[in-house]
Symmetry: C2
Subunit: 181 residues, 2 copies
């Protein structure tokens, strides 16, 4: 859908980083006026809801520099250029949790913040976790701690805002909805 399309007149490339790019576009609005749009380019991301045989959810705790605190989240990571999301999902699951899976189910996808960013997030679930024999090395600038929580424990973490991000809050609401069916 192109309703109210904003045509680009000019693009200013501000920053080209390891994770994100920033551009500022001059655009023509539907009424002919012009405006500036700040656009954050992101490769996209995946997350996995990993459920163990005893019905616990595997989370990772990591420091989130933009917030200056650590959060407990479902395992997640960025897409490599051209990579299929389900490949990224298995890789991130292996690197962050030491489990692998051959049975991923796509739950949903969504743009995290469409007002300024093009980041899309794919959320998968697996109830078929197998421990890896050998650990897989992840990014050497990532430090994560594993937690396995029941859904009730996870809901308590969310109330305490130790869980407090879009994909993980969505995952908890999704698992609650499955319990009610």
């Amino acid at each position: 859908m192109k309703k109210f399309e904003e045509k680009t007149i000019r693009t200013e490339h501000i920053y080209d980083g390891k994770v994100v790019k920033l551009e500022v576009d001059d655009v023509t609005l539907p009424d002919g006026q012009t405006a500036k749009r700040e656009l954050l380019k992101h490769p996209g991301a995946v997350a996995v809801i990993p459920i163990t045989k005893d019905k616990k959810i595997v989370f990772v705790e990591q420091y989130r520099k933009p917030l200056e605190k650590s959060l407990v989240e479902i395992p997640a990571g960025k897409l490599e250029p051209g990579e299929r999301p389900e490949i990224t999902a298995v890789r991130e699951l292996e690197e962050e949790t030491g489990y692998t899976t051959s049975d991923l189910k796509l739950i949903t996808s969504f743009y995290t913040s469409p007002g300024f960013a093009d980041e899309i997030m794919y959320i998968y679930m697996t109830e078929d976790l197998k421990p890896l024999k050998d650990a897989v090395a992840g990014d050497d600038d990532e430090f994560v701690e594993l937690l396995e929580l029941t859904l009730d424990e996870a809901k308590q973490y969310a109330r305490e805002q130790r869980i407090h991000d879009a994909k993980t809050n969505y995952a908890i609401l999704y698992l609650e909805s499955l319990e009610r069916m």
Copy 2:
């Protein structure tokens, strides 16, 4: 929680825009190594799930330049500096839908993309909508179209990815969970 804290050694200010700021920090990791962190600063945002007397949900369709397409979303907007989120929520509801309310309930809050951005999103709901006598002017660079949909219609929009962002997907899942109770 400060687990795995990353201390800032140096901050490079890249861009200071109308909506976002971009910084790149050099940080010390828990193992003593250093790394770069790309940090998007955002004022935070609110969204409202507006339910009409006949149980329809009020959405707005608008062009999202980062995606080069329009999306159907629940009404939302950015916090002004120092503004309480529930004040922003009423303002955005009035500007975007022509309704007002004196009864907002906070449903949840979450960081939209904690890996690179500090944006927090507060989601409210109201089932007490009153039409405004006079329209309230919104931002003059915003063009939105109103839609009132049943939950089933909204779920169909989500399947077609005309609804496809974190806050609105969360809102639909939340409303589904209320129906099941």
